[in-house]
């Protein structure tokens, strides 16, 4: 398509601004985390590592970080198991019931967070699950389930089921066929579901804010209460650590994937 040079320049500028708007807020925590003063005012003054030190030594921060890791790990496994089973079930159903059930299982994505949060809080108050690991795991698992379902369903859609029939005709039992044929082919879907489930739980805040108590906090809850309480640059240090950890993970994953793809070709 022909675009006039002027239009092209304007388009490029607008997109550059949008890109900056998308990315810059992500990076602004980095300079703030080295602030010498206990303040989040810009520009930061001086240079110090004290907020990183605080993150690792202050039990409020380190225990909430560990709680988040624990909850997210269990949620990742549980949601991936349930979501993968459900995706298989839906894949093997008739279109009618499958579509209905799929819609039902995706509802956690569209129910407004606060509405779900007060509902779960009400039930947890009655069942004494407020401020328990089990409570967090159950709530986060149901929120993570849709992401696993979408990821695994997508890879099942392109999976050729005749391969299973072929394996069976060669004498493989259902489990052997699943383990040696189906699983390796849909593994990327399952793994990305696992990753999404972990991230969903690690990041979840709205429901967590309601079902938390002073004895059991997750990292986002701790961050939220720190922001609302005072201007503690430790939150900026946490943000920076998370940013670098994710960048390393995703960068490493992309490198590995790229190498594997090259190796196969």
């Amino acid at each position: 398509m022909e675009i006039k040079p002027l239009t092209r320049v304007i388009l490029g500028l607008v997109c550059l601004l949008v890109a900056i708007w998308l990315v810059a807020p992500t990076l602004v925590v980095v300079p703030m985390s080295f602030n010498e003063n206990k303040s989040l005012a810009f520009p930061p003054q001086g240079f110090s590592w004290q907020w990183y030190q605080n993150f690792f030594t202050n039990p409020d921060w380190s225990s909430s970080f560990l709680n988040s890791l624990k909850v997210a790990s269990v949620v990742a496994v549980l949601a991936t198991a349930l979501g993968t089973l459900a995706a298989f079930g839906l894949d093997r159903m008739k279109a009618g019931p499958a579509n209905l059930l799929r819609m039902l299982m995706l509802t956690p994505m569209v129910v407004p967070g606060v509405v779900l949060a007060i509902g779960i809080y009400a039930v947890y108050l009655d069942t004494h699950l407020v401020g328990t690991l089990l409570g967090f795991v159950l709530a986060h698992t149901i929120l993570a389930l849709p992401f696993v379902l979408i990821a695994v369903s997508a890879s099942l859609e392109v999976f050729d089921r005749r391969l299973e029939t072929a394996a069976a005709s060669l004498g493989a039992g259902a489990l052997t066929a699943f383990r040696t044929v189906t699983l390796p082919l849909i593994l990327p879907g399952i793994l990305s579901g696992l990753l999404f489930a972990f991230a969903t739980s690690f990041d979840e805040i709205v429901v967590s804010l309601f079902i938390t108590n002073p004895y059991l906090k997750t990292l986002p809850v701790q961050i939220f209460s720190s922001i609302t309480r005072d201007a503690d640059p430790t939150v900026a240090a946490v943000g920076t650590i998370l940013l670098f950890a994710t960048t390393l993970l995703i960068g490493g994953g992309m490198l590995l994937l790229g190498r594997e793809r090259k190796g196969r070709q």
Binding site: V18, L101, V114, G239
Partner: protein, 290 residues
């Protein structure tokens, strides 16, 4: 888990009489869904109708108090503004994604995905740092010789922050629709004498509308239920419905009233989804047929 009850027989799900198997596979997820989503939402509906006593008094109160209606209207206004800002920013961006080479496209995709790398709370913290009176934007303005402007605890600030968080949900569906548009149609229009702008408005824009609808609906619905961003960036004059629900339940212990608000928010969301679903589906089909 009922999946473990499956008999370890050879591949046999094609045989008749095994129709229950797929349902058994979905059962664990469904049970959890009912227990952790279905039952709690049911509880909220019941409480909205039964506390302090049975009846619709909580709904009468909600639609009778001017403050609630103001907040309800504001929630819609803010969500609408966020949607508009997202459409305006996402449209050229998604278009550029389809028009550039693979390398630049990778950079553009990364820019959309990077905000997902940091947790949502941290992103909102970044907006506090940027927008506050002693924040980045105001210190830049002051060093350029302008007066500072008030951004934090205003509706403008809330819209800026929310739109940034929701922009990827607008860009991605838009991009997936634009990717499928045959650019030769534009050339055909131009070869028939249409000026580029006319070719854009009569050919390209209508073809890309399904993406705009899809993205706008997602953004609007997500914006309606936003809680964290308005809570941290907003002030008393930019309270949204979610904050009101939280205040009723956690601070005032008014489960009935909070529940009624929650039900209003929930019903609005699902009505919008139901209204949007057929429109979106038929638009997609239309786009596919052309």
């Amino acid at each position: 888990m009922s999946a473990s009850e499956l008999p370890p027989q050879p591949a046999a799900d094609a045989r008749p009489g095994r129709a229950w198997r797929p349902f058994a596979l979905t059962a664990p997820a469904l049970i959890l869904l009912v227990a952790v989503i279905g039952y709690p939402l049911f509880t909220i509906v019941v409480r909205s109708l039964s506390e302090p006593e049975w009846g619709v008094q909580n709904y009468v109160w909600f639609f009778g108090a001017p403050i609630n209606l103001t907040v309800l209207q504001r929630t819609f206004t803010i969500s609408a503004w966020v949607t508009i800002v997202c459409v305006i920013c996402a449209y050229p961006y998604a278009y550029l994604m389809t028009a550039v080479g693979p390398r630049v496209r990778l950079v553009l995709v990364l820019c959309v995905l990077i905000p997902f790398w940091v947790s949502g709370v941290v992103r909102t913290l970044s907006w506090v740092i940027l927008l506050q009176d002693s924040g980045v934007i105001n210190s830049l303005l002051r060093s350029a010789g302008f007066d500072g402007i008030r951004l934090i605890r205003t509706q403008t600030g809330v819209v800026i922050g929310m739109a940034q968080v929701l922009l990827p949900f607008m860009i991605l569906p838009l991009y997936s629709v634009m990717k499928g548009i045959d650019l030769r149609l534009m050339r055909a229009a131009q070869s028939l004498g249409a000026r580029p702008s006319r070719a854009f408005f009569t050919v390209y824009l209508p073809l890309s509308l399904p993406g705009v609808y899809a993205g706008a609906i997602i953004v609007f619905i997500l914006a309606l239920g936003f809680y964290i961003t308005p809570a941290l960036l907003g002030g008393p004059r930019s309270t949204m419905l979610s904050t009101l629900v939280q205040t009723q339940v956690l601070s005032l212990l008014q489960w009935g009233r909070g529940g009624a608000m929650g039900v209003v928010l929930l019903v609005t969301t699902f009505v919008l989804l139901a209204l949007a679903a057929p429109v979106m589906r038929s638009r997609y089909r239309e786009a596919g047929r052309r």
